[in-house]
């Protein structure tokens, strides 16, 4: 099997197609949600909706998640809080500040930025992978999560897990030839790009919308979070 040819396909045509599907899919989802419209607003606002949005982001997304005793999740489900937090932090640091990943952004956006040394990125990805395994086990044994997990949730885990694991093995030159793992990594990324708009992984974008809408509602009622 000529893995360099597969790599060329995964980095070339397939990536191109996956990226376009991703853009079209996310815009489709966005259009659907925006066109649902607001509920008719029959109540006089008691406070500023915009202020509510600001507070919602500032406290709810930027400050509070990092203070464990303020977050209910931390005490009610520490596994989700710790593993989930580490997973997200590790994933985004690696995607944005890993040199190889930054070069992808650079080629797409036209500009780059300084990156972290490989050992740091490496440890973060290892920790993120461990956290992801923790989340998987948690989903397996937590009775409530078990009830609300369908095939889509398990697929989410798998499709996010594959690029991380292949990427980690690739940087360490383990088990397979570099281009084999590079190909598998790129194929996994391509599948992930196509899968995101179809799944709840789209929360990477819609999370900010829901945060804004909650904030606006809180602001209207003057009960900022």
């Amino acid at each position: 099997m000529d893995w360099n040819a597969i790599l060329e396909f995964a980095r070339g045509t397939f990536f191109q197609v996956a990226l376009l599907v991703f853009v079209a899919g996310m815009v489709y989802r966005l259009a659907r949600i925006l066109l649902l419209g607001w509920k008719p607003n029959r109540v006089t606002a008691k406070g500023s909706r915009l202020g509510g949005v600001g507070m919602s982001f500032l406290k709810g997304a930027i400050i509070w998640p990092f203070i464990p005793w303020v977050k209910n999740t931390a005490s009610r489900n520490p596994v989700i809080y710790i593993a989930g937090g580490i997973f997200h932090f590790g994933l985004f640091t690696v995607i944005l500040l890993g040199t190889a990943h930054m070069l992808v952004w650079k080629s797409l956006l036209g500009f780059g930025w300084p990156t972290l040394p490989l050992p740091i990125v490496d440890w973060l990805s290892a920790i993120a992978i461990a956290a992801m395994i923790g989340l998987f086990i948690n989903r397996l044994i937590n009775p409530v999560l078990k009830l609300i997990s369908g095939p889509a949730e398990w697929l989410n885990l798998l499709i996010v897990f594959l690029p991380m694991v292949t990427g980690y093995i690739m940087t360490h030159h383990l088990f397979f030839r570099y281009e084999v793992l590079f190909s598998l990594h790129m194929l996994a990324v391509d599948v992930l790009l196509i899968w995101i708009p179809l799944s709840r992984i789209s929360h990477f974008m819609f999370y900010f919308f829901s945060k804004a809408i909650h904030g606006a509602e809180f602001g209207k009622r003057a009960v900022t979070p």
Partner: protein
């Protein structure tokens, strides 16, 4: 009359016994039996030379007992760069002996004769050594329109290749063009250029890709065939494993900087001056299998990465079309056009708006319903 052995040939050339043994050691090294040619040629410490004794002995025995290996060297869509590199290889004795004095019978660039004379000579050699000669191909073979895009003496290269390949004991394709199509095959490939092994499928073809191929690798392979009468072990792309088992990245002298995350961002920044990793400048070392980093060039003086230029991946198939030379390898091969992304976004909006409109048409909007009806429906849910 039996053919004179290589050793006899060499004695006739005025080679001393001592020089002969030295050559055997160099050949053993060039084949990768122990270590690379330049190391041996530069004079090893005694304990290392002893280590090589058995390998060199095997070579000596073969050269003393075997007749010369005739080589026919054909050039098609090439630049003669591989030949050029070979003539300037850092083991002049080796190349001189293996190619000029021992074996080479036909070479368009190097042969003194030309025109019909040499073509006739080639025919004679092919007849005389049928089934015994080694065929070396340099350059791609155009197959579009019956191969008219490359003709020699009025015959297409495709025709010439098939004719010469029929009687060859071994076929060695040298350089990226002869192995994987190289530059002639680059998109859009108007001449339908192909590598040798895509055309000759009934015989083993040894691929020695590179742009140019490393001379020591070529002589090593030829020496292996000469000494053992068999081709070296090949990988999935028919490359000799001795020379193509490891990537440039694996053996790179800048590798520690990669691990430490220290990269040159431009060709003239502090990182470049400090000799840091060239990954960000588009180095293809991680996926390129070749011996540049170990054998190096010009008597082991340097190789591209050492002298400050990222690896282009010239020993891999389709290296011309595998993304920008100076673009990081992780970057996508094709940069999506803004227009394409725009079209995708518009398609998303249209689809989303369409589905939203269809949904609205199906059920009356909440605002138009009486409040009581809303409460009713809420209660039902």
């Amino acid at each position: 009359m039996t053919e004179p052995t290589i050793y006899q040939h060499l004695l006739d050339q005025g080679l001393s016994r001592r020089e002969f043994l030295k050559l055997c050691g160099v050949l053993a090294g060039a084949m990768g039996l122990r270590c690379a040619a330049p190391v041996l040629a530069s004079g090893l410490p005694a304990h290392l030379v002893n280590d090589n004794a058995s390998a060199a002995e095997a070579v000596a025995q073969a050269l003393e007992s075997k007749p010369r290996l005739p080589v026919i060297w054909l050039e098609f869509q090439d630049c003669a760069g591989c030949s050029e590199a070979l003539t300037r290889s850092q083991s002049p004795t080796l190349v001189d002996l293996v190619l000029n004095k021992i074996s080479i019978e036909y070479h368009e660039t190097l042969s003194a004769a030309a025109g019909f004379q040499i073509e006739e000579n080639k025919q004679a050699i092919m007849k005389k050594y049928a089934g015994k000669y080694a065929l070396v191909i340099e350059g791609a073979i155009p197959v579009a329109d019956d191969g008219i895009y490359c003709t020699i003496g009025g015959r297409s290269s495709l025709d010439l290749l098939k004719e010469a390949a029929a009687g060859a004991a071994a076929i060695i394709a040298t350089g990226n063009c002869a192995t994987f199509g190289g530059l002639p095959k680059a998109n859009p490939n108007p001449t339908g250029a192909k590598g040798v092994w895509e055309i000759i499928t009934d015989k083993p073809v040894v691929n020695i890709p590179g742009c140019p191929a490393i001379p020591e690798v070529f002589t090593g392979v030829l020496a292996h065939f000469l000494v053992f009468g068999a081709l070296p072990e090949l990988d999935h792309l028919n490359r000799p494993k001795t020379f193509y088992a490891e990537t440039i990245h694996d053996r790179c002298l800048r590798r520690p900087f990669y691990e430490a995350g220290k990269f040159a961002n431009t060709f003239d920044d502090e990182g470049a001056r400090q000799g840091w990793c060239l990954y960000k400048l588009g180095c293809k070392g991680p996926t390129t299998y070749n011996s540049c980093a170990t054998i190096k060039w010009q008597a082991g003086l340097s190789f591209p990465v050492q002298s400050g230029h990222p690896c282009l991946g010239c020993s891999e198939p389709n290296f011309w079309d595998g993304g920008g030379f100076y673009q990081g390898q992780s970057a996508p091969v094709i940069r999506p056009a803004l227009a394409g992304v725009g079209v995708a976004a518009i398609a998303g909006v249209v689809l989303g708006a369409g589905v939203a409109a269809a949904n609205r048409a199906q059920k009356p909007r909440d605002a138009e319903k009486p409040v009581a009806a809303q409460q009713n429906s809420a209660a039902k849910e």
